[in-house]
Assembly symmetry: D2
Homo-oligomer: 331 residues x 4
């Protein structure tokens, strides 16, 4: 491991980095006003659009936190990463990828059109809603509670605590579910859905309503940066093959229909949600060892004002800046 060759980690370095990060966060907070809160789930529209927070958790134990780091928010589409991982762990990668493709679409996340237009034999990828619902329908168990339990257990292993459901958001999602029901019934008709739609939707809205913080997202990102292995204990929490496929999917499909731009301009696997969260994964790289994070880190961002594709507007700009400053791109 390269780790040994890096003699960074003194208090001085950390303070120096913290200062930079604080500057960047306060600079990009101004950009929040160019974005808009998600509107399709009414309760998300009540967030504070000027919030911006970030946490960076390094493989070497360093943690940098800046901005609005203490506001909890619901995980939303970032949960698609978790349900994909759990489905792969339960069913095997082959089973899952036989039923959901891994191609980027060029379409919005909630498109039905693509399914029909191409007479597809499977949804485009696990991160568009059609694919995510199919994945959720694969989870083992006969009730939402049973299906969610392994998801909660994985969260517990990753975060060190069991996150809780935001009941109010869940209620709001449930009441604004027309589009997802439309997709769900389409999936039933075309034979993709494996389960009763009501159970799938309950599970899906609940997985989306789990409440996290930027530190939680950073921990998840770090675990993926470490190929699923706990950086402290060395325990395999997510099988290596699944962790790596997940990162490939995040890079090609993680940022809605701005995924290509994010891959090009930022260059790290990431997944966003409409609540304004982003989890980003900076794996270890040989290229540049001037910064400790090159050894690998996870980044959690929260900024509920979104650009028109559904990503945190200040969040992606902040990530772009950091990736460029610290040369995080995997390319």
């Amino acid at each position: 491991m390269v780790q040994g060759t890096v003699n960074w980690n003194t208090q001085l370095d950390k303070e120096w980095l913290q200062e930079y990060v604080d500057d960047w966060v306060s600079f990009y907070r101004k950009h929040t006003k160019e974005g808009k809160l998600a509107s399709y789930i009414p309760i998300l529209g009540k967030a504070n659009p000027h919030h911006l927070g970030m946490a960076i958790h390094g493989k070497n134990g360093m943690i940098i936190r800046s901005g609005d780091v203490d506001t909890p928010f619901t995980i939303q589409s970032i949960s698609k990463v978790i349900s994909f991982i759990v489905a792969c762990m339960e069913r095997g990668v082959g089973y899952v990828l036989d039923r959901v493709d891994v191609e980027p679409t060029g379409e919005a996340f909630n498109s039905i059109m693509h399914l029909e237009m191409k007479s597809l034999n499977k949804p485009f990828n696990p991160f568009v809603n059609a694919g995510a619902l199919t994945i959720t329908s694969m989870l083992e168990g006969d009730t939402a509670t049973q299906k969610l339990e392994p998801i909660y257990m994985l969260f517990e292993k990753m975060l060190g605590y069991r996150p809780s459901l935001n009941q109010e958001v869940y209620q709001s999602e449930y009441e604004s579910s027309a589009r997802n029901r439309a997709i769900g019934y389409y999936l039933i008709e075309t034979g993709f859905l494996e389960e009763d739609l009501e159970i799938t939707l309950e599970t899906y809205f609940k997985q989306c309503s789990i409440e996290v913080t930027v530190d939680d997202l950073a921990k998840i990102g770090l675990l993926l940066a470490c190929d699923g292995e706990d950086p402290n204990t060395g325990e395999e929490i997510i099988p290596r093959q699944i962790a790596r496929i997940t990162k490939a999917l995040m890079l090609t499909c993680g940022m809605y229909d701005a995924s290509g731009k994010f891959a090009t301009y930022v260059g790290i696997p990431a997944k966003s949600g409409v609540s304004g969260g982003i989890v980003a994964v900076a794996p270890p790289r040989v290229r540049n060892q001037q910064f400790p994070f090159i050894e690998g880190c996870g980044i959690g961002v929260f900024g509920p004002a979104l650009e028109d594709r559904g990503n945190s507007i200040a969040g992606i700009r902040l990530l772009k800046h950091i990736a460029s400053q610290w040369d995080l791109s995997i390319f």
Copy 2:
């Protein structure tokens, strides 16, 4: 650099690797019969469908060659990588990416539909034909010869010799150009094309008709693995930023509408052409130093029997196998 810590490079290792690679190439050659030669340009249909060859050029100087390595073939769509690089060098990355997006499409490379359906203000990415023609139209110069000169010069720097045009293939392309003309006129009408279409098409068909070998592709791949810097002399042949953006694009859009699957199952930047060539880039990685190629290598493959998306059928299976055996994935 990690390089120093690797004590590989003895003759023994090379022989041992060569044996493996020979086995794999002869195994996957059997898969060629599941594919089909390209048919849309008549002359490509005359290739030998059972051919399969591969060259691997490592950062550390090691070269492994196996199978049909001496058959020259035209570069076809892989030239889109080169013209994109040259356009970025001539015009600046900002200029180019203002005019061509970097999003994967989910559509075939020669789709016109997408342009119309989404009322796009720019083609989806530089590797679909609409984007590639737009890129070619940006190249400096008033004639095809002037526009091609910097492309030839870049080839010369990368390959150590000036490759030649296959006149017969160029003629065949020119005579089978209806679809590209349809796209070209669509681009004129929507204002994307910067030049006379005839000059753009002549340039484009000529850039596609440049003849290369698997060693040439491996050299190009290695140069990109080294972020554009000549691994022997340290000279910057392609600016670092451009090299890295190019790799991001190859990963998200390089393998036609199978790019997502290639990213997931193989996990390295690559670009294919309908003549059966693939250039793949395995950048240095910290993860696994048991194999020398982890320090970075370029891979050139040639296998003219294609799967239904237009990629060498044996080529992608061979790359998948090697990437898995040597842990090349960037994820």
Copy 3:
């Protein structure tokens, strides 16, 4: 009225016509074997695919019946004509056409794609499912029973009796409703649907499950040929403007995505359903008075073997033949 100038109607003529029609029906019955029963509602798959029956009801009182005229069948999509008329009578034509367009689509009747692709502000027309569900949601009443009552009342006026619901077909429709639910939820999300979806669907499936015979369809056709006026009593059953708009819609959109071909080759307003029924309207014409039906008639056809667009295969060929023989085309 031209009527007075026609001195046809003797027993002789009728026998002569009957003979012809019998010949045609038995000839086209052979064509039923080129078609297939509807499969998407399981119970429709149990019909006898070799059935073919026709009834012609003339304005002058003449009735010709031939083939399998006594088999009742569910009205299916032909009910879209009736619900459109009732909605226009209840809400006014302006209200209805503000909410549903009247354009042919070129797409299948159950397409969702079109709604999304064009970001439409209203469904394409009242005869695609998206439009028909929107129309049904407009019907007055808080329950399916209340909404259906005016439909039954209109049937009673047109047919002289109150038709009954085929409970078994209704049940089968209800259980095969995934695609219509998908469309329904899409309509909810986009704000087209005015009512609770469950009530709309119950109403819709019930209106589709009303049982009729070819004579019933011929009566409906005749009433439309007479611009909504009862040919015997002169009573206005459907307001003239609504009857005429309905005929225009039937001509442009009545035969699924074969409407253009039906308009060209047959040339009369018609609407088909997947149970194999067709109602056709031959309005009075000045052109050719050699045949009494030129004064106007309604035609009901039943032939459950369908072509690939969902129309009775023998039925449309039979109508084409008759329209040509008797010069029924409105063009």
Copy 4:
């Protein structure tokens, strides 16, 4: 014939009708300001947007003219009616309809998307550009001059004189031909086009650049109202079957993607062009004999300010008003 029973045609009636028509034309001229001149062919943008003129030619010899009736204009897309008729006369209806479908599209007239999206085996209908170019390519002859001669001859028979080409408009069309070239090359690639594209385009742009007046269009409309038979001489100028198919096509596809609305609200076969011309056909009807035109008339309209689909904005409103006042609808 009903004709004999009508005792209209006195000077009084004509004056009385003329007064009405003058009122309507001057009322609807105000609507021209809500429209816009065609912009895609530069020279069309030089027309006077406030122009509105109409000519009505009745089967009984009556002629009513009102507004800007003396301004000549190029026939544009209305020529698609003529080339379709000539192709049917030269090749036979079967040959033509085997190669071009007769379905409305729901898409803009210059869509390429539909061809690709549906992998169609023929263009949607003769009045979208893809279909019209295919029709023009079928015309007999090896040069544009040879192909155009039968078109000119048909015009001569219909109008009583040989119309001339507006060379300036032709030049402008030719220079703004990118979209039509895109469609043309798409047609070549998919095998629809029967001829050299340059000859097809020259023929097509020339047929579009033929100059007519509202009286010419009214004569064409009247001839179609009479099923192709000269109302004065009884000579068959267009075979009856072709005339009737043409009217069916005009009704379902004649007014671009507003054809369904025109069929519903106006209810007569019509074809418009982007120069602002409309030819409308009111065939004889039995229904209402209070107005002489019910015996059949042709209507020519010119109003170069267009609505967003490409139809004369004042022209369609004027036609809607007249059709309603005189009960012209064929439904």
